[in-house]
């Protein structure tokens, strides 16, 4: 008797739901456009065979080529690496230089201090 009663097969059922959902969706359009695809949409079908998902489930090895576990960058010839190498070398030289200057200064300072200490005895 009713429109729904005519379609008891699953295909007609699916169209009924999508028809009704589109009526509500129309009302929501301006807002949804802003948030784009942030919401996890309902799937148009409830079930599918494993073959329909690109990678068969259970074959974990089947997807590993999509991910790289060894990605260390050993290229020392590109600019970034060259720059770092230069900076390290310059710093190593200057640190060595500073140490020499520093050592020399502290030696002089100790001489001065000793002299001050020694003076009263001289008197």
């Amino acid at each position: 008797m009713s429109a729904a009663a005519e379609g008891s097969g699953p295909t007609t059922k699916a169209t009924t739901t999508s028809d009704t959902s589109s009526t509500l969706k129309d009302q929501q359009k301006p807002a949804t456009a802003l948030e784009e695809d942030d919401e996890f949409e309902d799937f148009p079908v409830d079930d599918w065979a494993p073959e329909e998902s690109e990678v068969p489930p259970g074959q974990e090895g089947g997807t590993t080529h999509l991910w790289e576990e060894s990605w260390d960058d050993d290229d020392t010839s590109e600019d970034f690496s060259k720059q770092l190498k230069y900076v390290v070398e310059v710093a190593q030289d200057s640190v060595a230089g500073t140490l020499t200057i520093h050592a020399e200064r502290s030696w002089r300072r100790s001489r001065v201090r000793n002299r001050v200490k020694e003076e009263p005895y001289k008197r």
Binding site: M1, S2, A3, A4, A5, S8, K13, T17, T20, S21, T23, L24, Q27, Q28, A31, E35, D37, D38, E39, F40, E41, D42, F43, P44, V45, D46, D47, W48, P50, E52, S53, E54, V55, P56, P57, E60, T63, L66, W67, E68, E69, S70, W71, D72, D73, D74, T76, F80, L84, K85, V87, V88, E89, V90, A91, Q92, S94, V95, T98, I101
Partner: protein, 577 residues
Amino acid sequence: MSPPTLDKFLEEIAGIIKEKNGIQLQEYLIYEPPLPPLYNKIVSEIRQSYPPKSQKALENKCISFIPEYDEGDEGGSRTAFVMFMVKYFTFLRDVNIDNLIETHDLLKALLNQSILALSSSIGVIVLPTVVSLSRTLARLAIGLDKRPELIEHLIRRESVVESEATERVTLVESSANVIREAFKKCLSERSGPPSGVDSNGKPEGRRIGIYVMANLCLKLFFHCRKLRSAEQIFGNIYQQSPPLGLFPAAQRVTFLYYLGRYLFANNHFYRAQVALHAAYDQCHGQCISQRRLILIYLTTSNIILGRFPSSRLFQRPEAAGLAEKFLPICSAIAKGDLASFRKYMDLDAQNAEWFLRKRILLQLTNRCEILVWRSLARRTFVLSGSQGAVTSQGDVTRKAAPTLSLQDMLTLATLLEKRVLGFAEDAPKPNGLTNGHGSTQRTHTNAIFVFPKVQSPLPQETDTEVPHGYVDPDLADVVDLEPPLLPNMEIIESIIASLIEQGLLHGFISHAQHRFAITGVKDARPVQVGFPLIWEVINARANKEVPGWVKETKAPAFGPGMVVNLSGARPAGAAPA
């Protein structure tokens, strides 16, 4: 005169109930506009014969077609279902879809009544209708939430409630709470064997609705950011549900997506990766939008775990545009380029808004930084490290371990951090390793509670103004806790120590010599031993179990109605036979 169309409709509903055809019942109970002509006829008949305040008459009408008790049922009454039919008719009579809030409230009440019918003896037949109502309610709630101008007065009402120290419940959350009742009804089904699986390997009775209802709740809880409520759903499922694998693919993928996102939000990146990987693998090849969302969180989790997306992955249709978002991060990590990493993850950077909206910015910023440091240590070793040597003096062979100078690493880190802070790039001076001050550097949160010592840093500036404002006497002499803006040796040593502790570096620190020494090299390349692959380290020690994901039928736990076989029991303390 009796309304003819309504009578015919009720007669057919009674027939459907007798046949126990749940799908057909759901198809008959149309409630979303536009209604087919026949339904409009029913509505006008109800308006005429059963105006508001004639509830009892309508109830009697329904009972005359659907008796409250039936011999065919295994006990229990159909009162709840009859009341649901009454509610359905009054919904059709009263609903005005121009007022969406009112529609939402009416629909929620209708769903509530259908859930009561769900626990009656004919509950399973009502299930498809409950699912359909829940779906519509969820869609309407989210739709309303996106139109603040419509729910303005509700938000105001909520804030009043909030001031009365009651927990604030939004429109979306209130809908989710109703749907959660349906979820609980499905989960607590007691028919069939304890495993909840029938002889055909399908979930028994109302259990068939567990994941449909759970997914709807999760959708709403994620929408209103109530992850604590989502946690309850996962907890309940983990304890009571039949294996996820018995349910249709759409339900599995949706559930695993939300589970993955929940685990991700709780910093369980390995488990998140396991769930999202399964969701991605099982997702329909043509559902690009779903695949894309799963992939975004899967990629983020994997990068944090040291597994980078390949160029092949980025060629997939669902990955369109993702390469430009994620590749700069991967490249900065691989190079140890701290400056590029910090600049790219800055809140003002080009893609920050996108990362923020996807709720992955903080995770990427915080979790990937240590990976950048690991690469920087590795690069320092490659550029200036000592590869170790074997020296022999007479009979004694001495083997020096490969080492890297922490001083060199500090030099590089300082250079890179200076780039972020916008320092002029000059060659490092001998005193260039001391700390400088910049304005963009992050400070520890505690800094807002601690006042710097009221003293000018430089002696020649002692005449300048003392900072204004109240300073607590207790805090008058505190030392500024602001962290050094540029790294120093302590920071570098701490980072290296942390990397060693996490297993991401293999060796030890010589504090006296400021060097990191790689141990256990033997015949291998020092760089491979000292800097193991991050993914391999994490994968090796990860717990593969994912709470919330029921993979196999569990042995039923002890509970009411369980038969416990005590034939092998012996008194406490007695020796085994």
